[in-house]
């Protein structure tokens, strides 16, 4: 085991997981029926751990991230179980949830350009945030604490009273991070924090996020579609497809030996210096209103068998603690021996295209 995971494992022993999510569902209604944006997701996050959440756009990863903070799209419903330091968040009254948000649960967004109120000075953003959670905080204390995090993020104190539009994109993202850390939340969701930034700034932000646990002991859910970032910064990784976590485990294990064909294809499609051609996964992400029956990935899956088109696979835990849901992986690992030869026959092409169209 690496030093990184050792440490997170040791901190976990000091208490239960920071986040314990079981069977979370977040659906929202449209004219065509409910969108199953998050459909039965379970995971845990330990203290000081960074969990990467990866998947294509529209797979529900952003909805999940917001849902953990209780920020749901209008008209959405959420159920399942969500424990934060042992406390059931879904059972919390609205008011207490508000108090938790920002103070204990933080959020960093994708677009730093639009996330700051253009009419408010940076100082006003900090003042507002601190006052919302600590009613009797004084002016000097606000300034002291804001300056402290700003310094950590490398923002010169002279810029404290500037307006958001006076900063560059990378600086704005650091401001956003500073703003979500000023209350020292123990859990932070970072939703594609670097997507809108250029590569050099991206590296800088990732370093900052990676160092958070040293400074603040923060647990981080890092949502991204960039596998490079996961490899660089995360202890564990969860792969999401069509509202479900199809594989979750230690980042090194998952990358070295992906169990789910989707994870494998995702890794293959990543461009690296070594790759000779451009790999991509054919087909489009499924419609979350009416996902394909059986395994949601089967229309695009190169390993698909007949059973995949009819029956949803079951989540199973590997010996190394990874978890996946895939019939092919089951067979490989000696599970699901009761499948008939008819069920394990590779899915024929025609059926793939039909399923794809449906």
């Amino acid at each position: 085991m690496t030093e990184m995971t050792d440490r997170s494992a040791s901190t976990a022993t000091s208490g239960g997981p920071v986040i314990d999510a079981r069977d979370l569902r977040i659906w929202y209604g449209t004219d065509r029926g409910p969108v199953k944006a998050v459909d039965g997701v379970s995971f845990t996050l330990r203290k000081g751990e960074i969990l990467g959440l990866v998947g294509e756009s529209g797979c529900g990863k952003s909805t999940l991230g917001r849902g953990l903070l209780g920020l749901l799209p209008e008209g959405a419903k959420m159920d399942g179980q969500l424990r934060f330091n042992g406390e059931d968040l879904l059972a919390l009254p609205k008011k207490q949830m508000f108090a938790k948000r920002g103070a204990e649960l933080g959020m960093i967004f994708q677009e730093p350009l639009t996330r700051l109120n253009p009419l408010m000075r940076i100082s006003e953003h900090f003042e507002e945030t601190l006052k919302a959670h600590e009613k009797r905080i004084g002016k000097a204390e606000i300034e002291r604490r804001s300056m402290e995090v700003l310094r950590l993020m490398g923002i010169p104190p002279t810029r404290f009273r500037s307006y958001p539009h006076e900063f560059s994109g990378g600086m704005r993202q650091r401001l956003m991070i500073a703003l979500s850390l000023v209350l020292r939340p123990s859990f932070v969701v970072a939703d594609e924090p670097t997507t809108a930034l250029d590569v050099l700034v991206e590296a800088q932000i990732i370093r900052i996020l990676h160092d958070l646990r040293r400074e603040f002991d923060t647990s981080l859910l890092l949502i991204t579609h960039n596998l490079g970032i996961i490899a660089e910064a995360c202890d564990r990784v969860a792969v999401m497809y069509a509202g479900e976590v199809v594989e979750i485990g230690d980042a090194r294990d998952v990358f070295a030996e992906p169990q789910h064909p989707y994870t494998r294809e995702l890794l293959r499609s990543t461009i690296s210096l070594a790759s000779t051609g451009l790999n991509f996964i054919p087909g489009a992400p499924p419609d979350l209103v009416d996902p394909p029956p059986g395994c949601h990935f089967h229309p695009r899956c190169p390993d698909a068998m007949n059973v995949c088109a009819t029956t949803h696979p079951i989540q199973r835990e590997m010996k190394n603690g990874s978890r996946t849901q895939c019939w092919a992986a089951d067979l490989r690992n000696g599970y699901a021996q009761d499948l008939t030869p008819e069920q394990t026959t590779p899915l024929s092409r025609e059926e793939i295209s039909v399923a794809d169209e449906a």
């Binding site: 929202y28 449209t30 379970s42 419903k77 029956p293 079951i314 989540q315 978890r323």
Partner: protein, 331 residues
């Protein structure tokens, strides 16, 4: 062509359709008034006597005169109905004139480009910056001499206000159509530039002109009444006009004579509202982006047995079995 006219109607739903239908209904009633005024109105618009007996002056509403009579011994109801004819005539003419002048100017500006375009844009923008009533006042003041105070003069005065709007839309569409053909030309070596541009232009103009047209018509009703109120519109002996009637009602209002004010004004409000509703309804169907995505309440089906596996658990099989999983997928 007919299906083209009906299609925006079919594409509507909910609120947009409701707006469109109620707008069309109100407008339709007034158009019916305009077309059939002689048969609908109990009297002529400048009739003061019936069977040689003069009407009462400023008589309150009663069985003979549902809306009462005014200070000129006229029947208010008849003047309101005949007023619809005047309003519809003037507004239809002015919208037609502005389209006929504004659209070619826009095309010219967009096609020719260069200084012609720049001068026209600047001129139109300046005209647009003028208070519209002031512009209409100046024009009706000028046209009073050569054209008299008739329908045509009033329609032309209103036309001046609305030309810039059609000009702007058509000019901008033409410019973007030209840019679009550059792209096409690079691909197809300019084979069918005219066709592409024509289709593009036609598509965009045919979409926006009806919306602008109805909204302008609504505005024009108000401006026509304003001109009449200021004594600059239609001459009272030529036709019945709501704005003029309201200016006559000025002296009555403080004396508590309400019927000469309420009914002509009501007619204006209703027709303007009707036309606005049609315009807004059309706009929402033409620009679906304005529509709000409707949210349906979600019912989460009851929780199935957990498929969760605690990471420390040594269980091999998840708690759920395949049948429940299949059932979930059917939903």
């Amino acid at each position: 062509m007919l299906t083209g006219l009906i299609s925006p109607f079919r594409r509507t739903s909910g609120m947009a359709r409701w707006i469109l239908v109620s707008g069309l209904f109100i407008t339709g009633v007034f158009i019916a008034f305009a077309l059939f005024a002689p048969w609908i109105a109990p009297y002529d618009f400048n009739q003061q006597t019936v069977d040689g007996v003069k009407f009462d002056k400023m008589a309150p509403p009663d069985g003979d005169h549902w809306f009462g009579t005014n200070d000129q011994f006229y029947d208010v109801l008849s003047r309101v109905i005949w007023g619809a004819r005047t309003a519809v005539e003037v507004v239809a003419l002015s919208v037609m004139f502005s389209v006929v002048i504004g659209v070619p100017l826009g095309l010219l500006s967009g096609f020719v480009g260069g200084w012609v375009d720049r001068v026209l844009v600047f001129l139109m923008d300046s005209l647009y910056a003028m208070p519209s009533l002031l512009l209409a006042i100046v024009f009706s003041f000028l046209l009073r001499g050569p054209l008299g105070g008739g329908i045509i003069a009033a329609a032309l005065s209103l036309t001046a206000i609305y030309i810039p709007q059609y000009y702007r839309v058509v000019r901008n569409t033409t410019v973007s159509a030209r840019e679009a053909t550059y792209v096409e030309a690079a691909r197809a070596i300019g084979a069918k530039n005219g066709t592409i541009m024509g289709r593009y232009l036609f598509g965009n103009v045919i979409q926006s002109v009806p919306v602008i047209g109805t909204l302008n018509a609504a505005d024009a009703i108000g401006t026509l009444a304003a001109l009449g109120f200021l004594g600059l519109g239609i001459q009272p002996n030529e036709a019945s006009e709501w704005g003029y009637d309201l200016s006559r009602a000025l002296d009555d209002a403080a004396a508590g004579i309400w019927w000469t004010t309420v009914f002509p004004g009501m007619a204006i409000v209703l027709l303007v509202t009707g036309l606005t509703l049609v315009g807004e309804g059309l706009n929402e169907t033409v620009n679906p982006a304005l529509r709000k995505r409707r949210l349906r309440p979600v019912q989460l089906p009851p929780h199935e047995p957990s498929t969760y596996l605690a990471e420390k658990d040594d269980t091999r099989f998840a708690v759920g079995d395949r049948e429940t999983v299949e059932k979930r997928d059917e939903r």
